[in-house]
Every structure is written in structure tokens, then in C-alpha cells.
Amino acid sequence: MAFIEGKTVSKAFGALRAVDQVDFHVESNEILGLIGPNGAGKTTLVNLITGVYPLTEGEITFKGERITGLRPARISHLGIARTFQIVKPFPGMTVRENVVIGALFGKNGAGRSTRVAFQEADRWIDYVHLHDHRYASVDQINISDRKRMDLAKALAMGPELLMLDEVMAGLNTKDIEEMMALVRRINEELKITLLVIEHVMKAVMSICHRVMVLHHGRKIADAPPGEIVKDDRVIEAYLGERYAKARRAS
């Protein structure tokens, strides 16, 4: 039994099938990379897992339990957390208060007092190396720090499955290296299963155990990273049919 598993998962927006008959699974303690050109349906798939959108077709099970149709808050209490591609901070709060929201209302938050929750928040702020900005307000920190804050908030929710939606987008080379190390640590130290949407191929190649490729809402490949970059369908999806043909011919 897979840790999280989706069968014929589909989402239609009117006539557009953003996610089309996708079967997927993530094993416990695995890092699954989810890649694909813009508009392939990656974020939509995450939104389906977290319950933001109802599924048009199919079903998703988490640890053998059906989670299709549950409210996003309910799903997060089961141990599924995410970060956002475009970080959605709470602008009226400090970094510490943003992270404490995760500690208060996440999986183990129910019985926590605000004092304990703040200790928990501090722990995760330290974990993502954001301690210099603990009391900063959100508009005072840069994009790299915002991504870390979002990550700290997600970690404070005590997830078993964490989905990272382009945490490296917009970061410079040094920040990407740090984020890669952090993602690896989260997987190895905290034993958290990860689903990582990413465009930075260097990161995908080095941190993911397996990569799934979406194109026009359909799954076109699912293999270890080394094989993915040689797959004709993937090259075609990213670089166009003509390039793929020329490559085959040579």
C-alpha cells in the first residue's frame, strides 16, 4: 500500500481538463519530483490533494484512508501540509506569528496553548535558519526568506507528507544550494515524505528519488531522475516535437 495514492484523478475547469486521469503514488519517506511545462497541472494536482478543489473524477487515499471530499483544514489535520508557489503570508503579522499559525492549527495543534505553540514556532524558525527575522513583519523580508517562512509554517503543522510548490523559484544560486540541503534534511532527519514541484532541474536531479512528469494534465513519464532526462516524451514536452525528432535522427 502506497503512503499516498491517487487513482484516475481528474479535474476539469469547464472544457479544460487540467488534470486528466492521473494515477500517482508516493511511498513512505520518498521524495517524489513533480515536473512539467507551465500549465501542465502540477499545482492543480496539489490543490486536489489538499482539498482546495473537488475532484471531477477519481479518488485519493492517504495511508489507506480515502481523503477525497474532505475540507482542506481536515486534510491538513491528517498530516498533509504544503507551501505555496506564490507565498501566501499573513501580512498583518510578524514572521513568528505567521509560523505559530501552523503550530496552533496543524496536526498536533489542537491541545496546544499559545505559549507552547510559540516555542514550537521558534524551533522551526531556527530549523529553516530564519532566526534573524523572527520579529520582522512580512513586508520587511525578501522572497527567499518568505519561502523559508512558508516552509517553517508548514513544518510547524507537523506533517507526514509535505508538498513543496516551487520553493526554489526566484532564488539565487546560493539560496538554491541551501534550500536543497534543507529539503534533504527534512526528508532524512524528520522522516517526512515529500512531493516537490520544481523547475530547477539541478535540484530535481539531485534530491528526488523518483520523478513524475505531467503534460497537458496527463502523466507522460514516471521514473528515476536519470531516466527521465533521456525520455523522448519528456524531451518533446519541454523542447518541442521538432527538436525531439532531430535528436532521434542524429
Binding site: 489538499t50 482546495v52 475540507r71 482542506p72 483544514a73 491538513s76 489535520h77 501540509a81 504544503r82 505555496f84 501566501k88 503570508p89 499573513f90 501580512p91 498583518g92 503579522m93 506569528e97 505559530v100 499559525i101 501552523g102 496552533l104 492549527f105 496543524g106 496536526k107 495543534g109 499559545t114 509554517k153 503543522m157
Partner: protein, 322 residues
Amino acid sequence: MQRKNTKWVMLGCLVVLGFVALPFLIEGYWVRVTTSILMYAIVTAALNIIAGFAGYAAFGNIVFFGIGAYTTAMLMLRVGFPWWGGVIVGGLLAAIYAILLGIPILRLRGHYFAIATLGINRATEQIALDWGSFTGGGKGITLPLPKMEIQQFYAMIYFIMFGLLLLTVLVNFMISRSRLGYALRAIRDNEDAAEASGIFPARCKITAWAISAFLTGLTGGVFAYWFSFIEPATVFDIMIAVKAFVMMMLGGAGTVLGPVLGAFLIELISETVWGKFLTLHMMILGVIMVAVVILIPKGMLDMFRRKFSLAGLWRNLKNQAV
């Protein structure tokens, strides 16, 4: 930190003592004026729970004031309840009303919610108007008069309102520190992200609105007993809610003491100055509202915290222009 806290606690005690001593120092008219200021401060601080913390612009919040007032009046007249019994039941009914209405309309966001609350206020006022046989209709209704010296009665109402204000401020303070408070602020800042963080927005918003309604309902009940005559046009007057919004914004929405501060400032100015400009004062209120939104969108409390400066005001003005 510790010493700073002690200083604030002492200042708070002094202010409370000042208010307790006040009715013995001033004359009848000013006791009534101060009571009315206290009343506005409660309505504003209660509004702050839903509109300030959760960011849901409940423009029709005054409907709970009306419900509290009419429940008190009806229970005293038709059932023979003591005034305080009527007030408490009025508060509870207002809270139930908020829960029942909140289930459908707190699903709406932004302007849609604001408009829905206006509609509810108008509809409820219409019920009070049309159900004349029971409520007295548009002619209004007179409550049983208190059996005590009038000055004593006014002093009593003053203390009740002051107690209610203390209760409302305390509730605001407790919410600001509680799980509910953090949930409401998260909802205000980004409802989708709040939901993804494990918060159930509907439950939190309904709780906040019910608390707000309960406190507003109690105030309406005390108002009815105090004035001993109510009519729909007075107790469902949308202008009370509009004024409360100005007060809340001026003092600082989502803060504990800001709304109270704003209420005192606006009502003091209104009682002392505007009384002489009966038609002009609506215009002044409008100008203040625009000035607050442009110059100090986060309210006076925030302005004091950042050390008041003209440069700060100018910066806000420039940000608005962009």
C-alpha cells in the same frame, strides 16, 4: 518588559477609578453624555471582534442592538421580566440570531458579506415595523419606568454601561491572546492560506460574530431600559454602525483599546462641537473617515506606537497616491 507592564496596569487602574468617581463629580447632563459615549465604545469594541480581528465588515451589526432592545422591551412589557432578565435574554437571542444567519452569510466574503448584513438589518427593522400588534410598530413602544429617583437611575445606567465596557474590552483582550484571535487574524489576512493551515474559517467566524452580537445585544437592552422608549428607526439606525466603523478605524481596527479610544474621541467632539452644527456634522464625519483611511489606515494606536510624525503621515499619503 516587566516594569513597562506594571506601568500600564497602574495607568489602567487609574482610568477605571476615574470613571468610577466621575458620576459623583459631574452633573446630570454630563452623566448622560458620558453614558452615551460608553455605549458607543461598547458597540465599537464589539464590532471590532468581527470587523477588526476577522476583517468581516459587518455594517449591519446594529441589528443585534435592535434585537437586544426589543427583546428587553417585550419581555418586560408582555412577560413581566425584570430589566436585567430582559437584557441577558436579549444578548443571548442576538447571539443565536448571529449563529443562524452566520451559517449561510459568513460564506460570503468582502463586500458581499457587508451588503448581506445591511439587508438583514433592514429586513429585521421591517419586521419590527410591520408586527405592530406585538412590537408597537413605527409608533414605538414605552417601557415600564424605573421605580427610583431619576438621578440615581442615570447613575445606575452609567455604571452598568461602564461594567459592560470593561467586559467588552476584557473579551477583546482575551481574544487577542487566544487561539481564536490568531485564527481570526489569519482569516483576515488570507482566508485560503488560513484554511490550508488547518483553520476552519466558518466555525471561527461564526463564533466571533456570535460574541460580537451578544455584547451588542446586551447594550441594546440596557439602552432600551435607559431611554424607556424605543422605536425601530432609533434602535436599528444604520448610522450607529457607520459611526462605530469610523471610531474603530480611527482608533485602530483589530487592536484591543483602539476602538474604545476612537469612540471616546469622536463622541466627545460630536457632543461638544458638532451639537452646534447640526447639518454640517455629517460632512465632518465624512471628512474624518476619508482622512483616517488615507493618513492613518492602521489607526491612532499604531501611529502612537510608531512615534507620531508628520513625515509618517506624508508617507501614507504618498503610498495612497501610488
